[in-house]
Amino acid sequence: MATPEIQVQGIVKTYGKGRVRALRGIHLEVAPYPDNFVVLMGPSGCGKSTLLNLLGGLDQATEGRIWIKGQPLENRNDLDRYRASEIGFVFQSFNLLTALNALENVEVPMLGNGMSNKQRTCRAQELLHEVGLDDKWNVSPRELSMGEQQRVAIARALANMPSIILADEPTGNLDSATTEDVLRLFVKLHQALHITFLIATHDLQVASHARAVLYMKDGMIVEGK
């Protein structure tokens, strides 16, 4: 049996000395390609983002264990490197750096990974080409449409060739046509690069593209198909 891409066992996350229980014992397994395009659905506040943060090494679980490609996450003392090389984040609000242009935003994750200036720029140009933004290299994020900003954010998430993309409400700020564009891009990347996608959303349109859909409520996974 192939090693799952992501495995989560009994994850609990509490805040405020245990008063707030955001996650109440999550069990989850993301199978390898082609079943690694997973959508997490559920109402706001059900714990989707918290789960993504734990998987991305941005936060630590109160209880439980996480394995990424069979390796326990809690044993890693290089979470910065883990985030830089194995994880790509896509956020609802894009989170681009407004002081930099589109090309530079894509280059940011590559700084310090041993690539030369020229290699970084070439890679960023390729990625912007990949997401259909060939003519927007020098444009500030402020001057881009929301769909274009999300495309830059996706290109940035792909910069270091991660094996997992964690997307938190990636279409929350987009109209339905742009949402469809972004989803088609996700599917294309999934098929081309076999990247694991874990997308938190409450948008049914997103769920329609998934290989697996998990439903969350009150910090627990209540249903999966």
């Binding site: 941005l58 910065d80 989170n95 002081a99 700084l111 310090g112 200036n117 270091n160």
Partner: protein, 370 residues
């Protein structure tokens, strides 16, 4: 693109914030530069007064610190001249004499008379011809007050003195003085055969300490100071320097707190950006370097601005009617360098805690902030 591109873009993207941070540092540094410039000016005035004698050693009566110091007997001049290593002797007398309509004017007398050129600039006319002739040099302010010109006469203690020259000085107060031949001043003060100080010029290669010891052994009533020592012993200068340093420390503290506060606010405003960088896998150390470097750059810019502000402020103060001619500022490249070093330190110091704090922010909390 490199880390420095990000630093440059960050500074330029928030021009107002960057400018205000640099200005915060500039105010502190400007205050320091201004105060130290004034101290330096004061020190130069003091040096110039001492330099009046153009001597290596200054001989004063030991009781000069008393309110009524005794004058030195002029007769010891012969003994001084015979000492090995002594090249020249100068005599100086200062007193206050009333003449014409002026109730009291500071009067200088030097022997040789040309010594006065070390300090005053002859504006019209020439020098006193000897230590004996009934001549007088008057400062520009005195000449104006008496409405006299070169060639006119003034009555000093019943003796008519011909004005042979009018002088000016960089220091306004010195323009309100006059210079008499030594003998005439001694007579006017009723202190014939007395002088206030001797200046001793030494032959090249002579030992100041040996001659000082010899003079003090032969004339225990005299206090013998090297020029540098006499300046160092100037209590007023030392008090003024200490006072101005204290004010500078206050100015620097205020500037430092301002810089620190501005840098902290700048990091606080960028919490989300820091969260984004952390989510992209940037280590805290890299974020620390960025915030620190930005602080350093703002410190250097603030330091340069501070030097300009400080120098400009002092020129403004000098031009103010209330202090014109009485306060003089002086700037050296060492002072500006010192200011730049302090500003760089301030910028870095202002950036250290915020930078450290930036690395401690939880990425999740940082990403949630707006």
């Amino acid at each position: 693109m490199s880390i420095f591109t990000i630093i440059r873009r960050n500074l330029l993207a928030r021009k107002t914030r960057s400018l205000l941070t640099a200005l915060g540092i500039a105010v502190g540094i400007g205050t320091m530069v201004s105060l130290l410039g004034l101290t330096e000016g004061y020190r130069r005035i003091t040096l110039a007064f001492t330099d009046l004698l153009k001597s290596d050693l200054l001989l004063l009566d030991r009781r000069i610190a008393d309110l009524n110091p005794r004058l030195i007997d002029e007769s010891i001049e012969n003994d001084l001249q015979r000492m090995p290593g002594v090249a020249s002797i100068q005599k100086m007398m200062v007193g206050v004499v009333g003449f014409e309509d002026l109730p009291g004017v500071v009067v200088y007398a030097t022997d040789p008379p040309e010594m006065i050129l070390n300090f005053f600039r002859i504006h019209e006319g020439g020098l006193l011809s000897s230590a004996e002739s009934p001549e007088i040099l008057v400062g520009r302010a005195v000449a104006n007050s008496l409405n006299k010109e070169v060639g006119d006469y003034v009555d000093v203690e019943g003796v008519l003195h011909k004005i042979v020259g009018i002088y000016t000085s960089p220091f306004y107060v010195m323009d309100a003085t006059v210079v008499l031949p030594l003998r005439h001043l001694q007579r006017a003060l009723g202190r014939q055969g007395k002088v206030m100080a001797f200046g001793v010029g030494l032959e090249h290669g002579s030992s100041i300490s040996d001659i000082k010891m010899l003079i003090e052994r032969r004339h225990p009533e005299l206090q013998c100071m090297g020029l540098a020592e006499s300046v160092r012993k100037n209590d007023l200068l030392r008090i003024a320097e200490a006072f101005i340093w204290a004010i500078s420390i206050v100015a620097l503290t205020v500037g430092g707190i301002g810089a620190f506060n501005t840098m902290s606010m700048s990091v606080f405003e960028r919490t989300k950006e820091i969260g984004i960088l952390r989510s992209l896998g940037w280590p805290g150390s890299r974020i620390f370097i960025i915030v620190m470097t930005e602080g350093l750059i703002l410190g250097v810019i603030g330091g340069m601005l501070g030097c300009v502000v400080g120098i400009g402020l002092d020129h403004l103060i000098e031009a103010t009617a209330r202090v014109r001619g009485m306060i003089v500022s002086a700037f050296t490249w060492q002072l500006c360098l010192k200011a730049l070093i302090v500003a760089t330190f301030l910028g870095s110091f202002g950036g250290v805690y915020p930078a450290w704090k930036a690395t401690r922010i939880s990425p999740v909390i940082a990403l949630r902030s707006e």
